[in-house]
């Protein structure tokens, strides 16, 4: 099969797994895609390079993709996301002394309401200082949700942006009280004794659309066959990750110096749905801390995009209507349907759902039988009804 060249930019994070596995395990080649992965150190560089056409594809923060499509920020570019590259994947980590105070005030791993209230109580009068890797991110959105719905004042929270690898140092230097970051960097901070994990992002929202496969819309429309092949390759990588025996291999591959350059054991722990919360402490179950395997983790629900747009529109300084339109132009379940057609897998019939309605259960009607998609639940039991 003749390979179509595709270059894809990525940031060293556990949820860059699908493109890395698609390349290393040969799924991309089998689908006829000659994939080149380009490692970057910053999200702004990914933003600039996809906008300027250096590469047509990237591992991207879901809110950043919607912001770019909405023309927010210095680099505007129409982007489409035919799939997510993973659901969840963030952890909230505190300085050990601050974590002790939070625990005294009721903070408990797995209980976002109790932990949120403790954060609100223990924050300095000047307000909570939170480190995040980028402003347009689920990291920032999840922290805002947590504080706001635990009775805190979000306008008092100060966000400081620093790259994942630098955040543990920023925490140690006392420049922030907590940070929210994608795995494995929360676990790395724990191993260095720099921080203790308070919550997984999934404790706040069980179905957070963390990263997307972002494609330049013009490129995607001009190369539909290549886009479809790429989506299939990434889907097959995610199916490979459903085999638990493959997770150790995946961690070894991700750990390589030219990918994450981190310890394979640290990476593997979250892949197995476990976390070590504090230095030399025991590991605990965190089954949804990062979901990379199977269709349910990858389906780009338009309702999730609409939720991001509604929450972020004021900060972006644009009207909610424009933000919603950009969300729906970006998250494209129809493209995932088209790409996976030849594989005859069942894909959810609906493009949107009521986010937060957990009793809808883990399965939804699909194109050929029920599809396991996993629950969408917010920690405060609220619901988000997308406008249709």
């Amino acid at each position: 099969m003749i390979g179509a060249d595709v270059s894809l930019g990525f940031i060293p994070l556990t949820d860059a797994a699908l493109p890395i596995i698609a390349l290393e395990m040969g799924f991309a080649a089998e689908e006829g895609v000659a994939l080149t992965l380009v490692r970057e150190t910053s999200w702004s560089t990914i933003r600039d390079k996809i906008a300027l056409g250096v590469y047509p594809a990237a591992h991207m923060l879901a809110p950043l993709a919607i912001a770019m499509s909405a023309g927010v920020g210095p680099m505007r570019a129409g982007l489409v996301a035919p799939m997510l590259l993973g659901t969840n994947g963030d952890t909230l980590t505190a300085r050990p002394d601050f974590a002790d105070r939070l625990v005294e005030h009721g903070a408990r791993f797995g209980d976002a309401m109790a932990t949120g209230r403790a954060l609100v109580k223990c924050a300095d009068p000047g307000g909570l200082r939170v480190g995040v890797p980028f402003p347009h991110s689920m990291h920032q959105e999840l922290v805002r949700l947590l504080v706001e719905r635990s009775g805190g004042d979000v306008s008092k929270v100060t966000f400081l942006t620093a790259p994942p690898k630098v955040l543990p140092e920023v925490l140690k230097a006392g420049e922030v009280d907590v940070f929210m970051v994608g795995e494995p960097w929360g676990s790395v901070a724990v191993e260095r004794g720099a921080g203790e994990i308070l919550l997984s992002g999934a404790d706040i929202w069980t179905a957070s659309p963390e990263k997307v496969l972002a494609l330049q819309a013009d490129w995607a429309m001009a190369h539909p066959d290549t886009m479809d092949a790429l989506v299939r390759a990434l889907y097959r990588a995610s199916m490979w990750l459903t085999v638990s025996g493959n997770l150790g291999v995946a961690a070894e591959i991700l750990a390589l110096p030219h990918y994450l350059d981190a310890s394979p054991m640290t990476i593997e722990r979250a892949l197995l749905g476990r976390l070590q919360l504090r230095h030399s402490g025991a590991t605990v179950d965190a089954p949804d801390v990062i979901r990379l395997s199977g269709l349910g983790a990858l389906y780009p629900w338009q309702s999730a995009a609409a939720f991001i747009a509604e929450r972020a529109a004021p900060a972006w300084g644009i009207s909610p209507i424009r933000a919603q339109a950009a969300a729906l132009e970006t998250f494209r379940p129809d493209l995932m349907h088209r790409a996976l057609g030849p594989l005859h897998v069942s894909v959810p019939m609906a493009h949107a759902r009521i986010e937060g309605r957990t009793e809808l259960g883990v399965s939804v009607p699909g194109t050929s039988g029920p599809v396991r998609v996993g629950r969408s639940g917010f920690f405060d039991r609220s619901e988000f009804h997308p406008q249709t």
Partner: protein, 194 residues
């Protein structure tokens, strides 16, 4: 009187940063400050209040700078990336070289262009030197590998140095491989057999 242009250069590569500063300082309407930018970026941006920021795209703190300037809500001094229509080709050239520029809103393209052109040239030059150095280092290490393999063949099969090299070269040609690859394979095999 021409307004002074204040430029902040953020580069971990101090040599390159200093060269850029030296080149820019020849223009006396320009003041330049160089920072490695590991910490204190917020203070630097406030104190220096630059009209133009040049930053290495590989810099680990680029997102911090970006968030302080353009990614979030506008500051008192609106800063943009240099990507208006006339600037797109120049921005592409800058990104290809690995440098990005943030400019204060309203700064004229004629002022930015020469600065960015110069920075792009310096980045390319450093990149070229780095590649040359890497090529030299590779050549040197290949040379050592081949010498070791020759030594192994000379003692194991009683060959002269020329004969040993000729054998390596013939094997490489027969197998369609590079001489250094054959030498490396021979060394690995010899180590296994020890």
């Amino acid at each position: 009187m021409v307004n002074t242009l204040k430029i902040l250069v953020i580069d971990l590569n101090t040599d390159r940063g200093e060269e850029i500063v030296a080149a820019l300082s020849q223009d006396d309407t320009v003041t330049v400050v160089l920072r490695r930018g590991a910490g204190g970026l917020v203070r630097d941006l406030e104190e220096i209040a630059p009209d133009l920021v040049l930053i290495d795209m590989e810099h680990p703190n680029r997102d911090t700078i970006d968030a302080l300037t353009v990614a979030t809500a506008p500051l008192d001094r609106p800063v943009a990336m240099f990507v208006d229509r006339s600037g797109k080709a120049l921005m592409q050239a800058a990104v290809a070289a690995g440098v990005s520029a943030y400019v204060v809103d309203g700064l004229r393209a004629e002022r930015v262009r020469p600065v960015l052109d110069m920075a792009i040239a310096r980045f390319h030059e450093v990149d070229r030197l780095r590649k040359e150095l890497r090529a030299t280092q590779t050549a040197l290490s290949e040379r050592k590998t081949i010498d070791r393999a020759k030594g192994l063949l000379m003692s194991a099969r009683g060959l002269s140095e020329e004969e040993a090299y000729a054998l390596l070269r013939k094997t490489a040609m027969d197998k369609g491989k590079r001489v250094s690859d054959v030498a490396e394979a021979l060394i690995s095999a010899a180590e296994l057999l020890q």
